[in-house]
Subunit: 397 residues, 2 copies
Amino acid sequence: MTDFQWTKSQFYVPEGMIYLDGNSLGPLPLNAKDRVGASMTDQWGEMLITGWNKAGWMDMPRRVGDRIARILGAANGSIVMGDTLSIKVYQALSSALDLRPDRRVILSDTGNFPSDLYMAEGLIKSLDRDYELRVVAPEDVYDAIDDDVAVTLITEIDYRTGRRHDMQAITERAHACGAITVWDLAHSAGAVDVDLAGANVDFAIGCTYKYLNGGPGAPAFIYVRPDLADTVRPALSGWLGHAAPFDFELNYRAGDGIDRLRVGTPPILGLVALDAALDVWDRVDIADVRARSIELSEAFVEEVSAGCPALKLASPSDPHARGSQVSYHFEQGYAAMQAMIDRKIIGDFRAPDLMRFGFTPLYIDVDQVRAAARTLCDVINLNLWDDPKYKTRQKVT
Amino acid sequence: MTDFQWTKSQFYVPEGMIYLDGNSLGPLPLNAKDRVGASMTDQWGEMLITGWNKAGWMDMPRRVGDRIARILGAANGSIVMGDTLSIKVYQALSSALDLRPDRRVILSDTGNFPSDLYMAEGLIKSLDRDYELRVVAPEDVYDAIDDDVAVTLITEIDYRTGRRHDMQAITERAHACGAITVWDLAHSAGAVDVDLAGANVDFAIGCTYKYLNGGPGAPAFIYVRPDLADTVRPALSGWLGHAAPFDFELNYRAGDGIDRLRVGTPPILGLVALDAALDVWDRVDIADVRARSIELSEAFVEEVSAGCPALKLASPSDPHARGSQVSYHFEQGYAAMQAMIDRKIIGDFRAPDLMRFGFTPLYIDVDQVRAAARTLCDVINLNLWDDPKYKTRQKVT
């Protein structure tokens, strides 16, 4: 059983703040600064170039990947770290398209994070073939999968509403139609129970600065189904994906398995911070996190329903149909969120009218969640957002 | 006039070590650990998500890019940071090809860093058009530029021998033939006098962990000629290259100028370390660095010629025809380099037979360089490399 009092003690959150934006950027793990500092003085400083072997920097993308694999129900050696999520989208999508050379449809939905769509758009323009990026409503994804679809490019959890796709069902349907699946786990990894092996997912990608608390701009990950990994062609064929990078051959030969999805030199400081952030997971069961996150979001919804019944839930009311966040529609949502932030309750706003709150059991408890919900009701009921002070505030990222 | 005693005081190099491998990984700047630490506690810890604006994280890729622009003779706003050099090769090359849609030849040379060739190979395979990656000998590049060439993809300084291309002449020739130039500055940035604006270069890319001392896996940079920047199509069209990333539109619209070459979320810890490393450059003139580096490499060559005349220089003997390193052919070079390393003189080895030494005036002086050369002669003359101890040593990255 995960000890959430202990996990809470492992993070720094400013005094008096209730941080419900861990779905954007997780807080600082208390062990991260010393670990990064030591990697700078004891490794970079003392070992210099030999740190690539002596400090194990060269293997970090695999080693850290294995730690994330455990959280995602994936086998060791099936995930490698590096780059950003957008780059990983490109790698997964282009590798996936390659596996279905006779098909021309990439299926996605309007709830996908825009960058995934942008990367797909850019890839299609580059390829200059008659690919179609077919973007349907999230609820139509399942039925839209047919024998024309080469690849489904779907984000499991909607960044705005938290709506959760049925990964297992969509993957099954895609496979039945002969399509390849690419799952974006940006809002899933560390938030919900994901079972990549069990769901037979082909490719998965994600970032690590949200629920995994790796820090601003922490490296992304990519998963490839182990039995596919030796056959995929990595579009971004960089030297660390080569079978023998230090032979400096003039021609590319893809490395074995997941290693061929490596590209350039790994970002060590970011990986060290992420590695420190993952320590807590050695004593965390994701099933406990999921159960607790449902408890937290239900408590929030319950308080808001009681205190401010007019506020319209934008998220699915069934907690099993959403990830670890809830959002509300509110026309003055931007100003209202500023009023919340002034009260040290941090959520965020997504245009046009969404107030978004993330629930992260590792460092947020039910009392904080209820207090936050009551403050939200106060702000709404007192029309605080109508104060010119909030109307004129600059928009925050 | 640059004060190289002062610059030397700004870096940590282990006691007694002569570090001639700053062309692979620069040493730790003394200010870097505290700066990264503060960015973790005072920014990530205290500001959390608001750090993207309050701490200026969102603008860092441009701000740090401007600092590098100054070292490379480029205008403010013409360089942006992010990703790895391999990714930047892909962006530059695909954007460049796009500017010459009727041509099919990418010209490179066998002295290019293999990853550049791998990325080009991968891009060509993706595009599935009849592109040809034409790889000639370095000395044939100039004459090989003809009206068929769409893009020249050339690394200015050979990673093995230090041979330096004439950037101005090749760029002029390329432009005269209607080709676009992509220059890889991995071994140039911070090492030699580069004048991107003066040479009228179209695209340039580079890493920052060598002569710029940004740390292991520090972010890469990309330069686009200002008058081209608004016309290039970024193949890797990620959300931070969008004209309005936080509007979350479903379709991609390229941002203005160099911003469209941004892709995903910037790696903040790596950028902060690099930013700290660049402080020293506020008091450094690259012309002084170049003059001093010639002095250092000439001193090394002179000592080796005197003490070990049989050792064959692999680098150009004219210091103006090479970058900031020299290499020697030596059949037992790997073992001999191990013997050097045991004597705390750190160079590196590149197959099949190159012993490579980098000269970095910011923290290496001429006495150290002469001492290193004499030790090299001792190792060679005493046949130390023949000792079974060195024969059996594992290969170091």
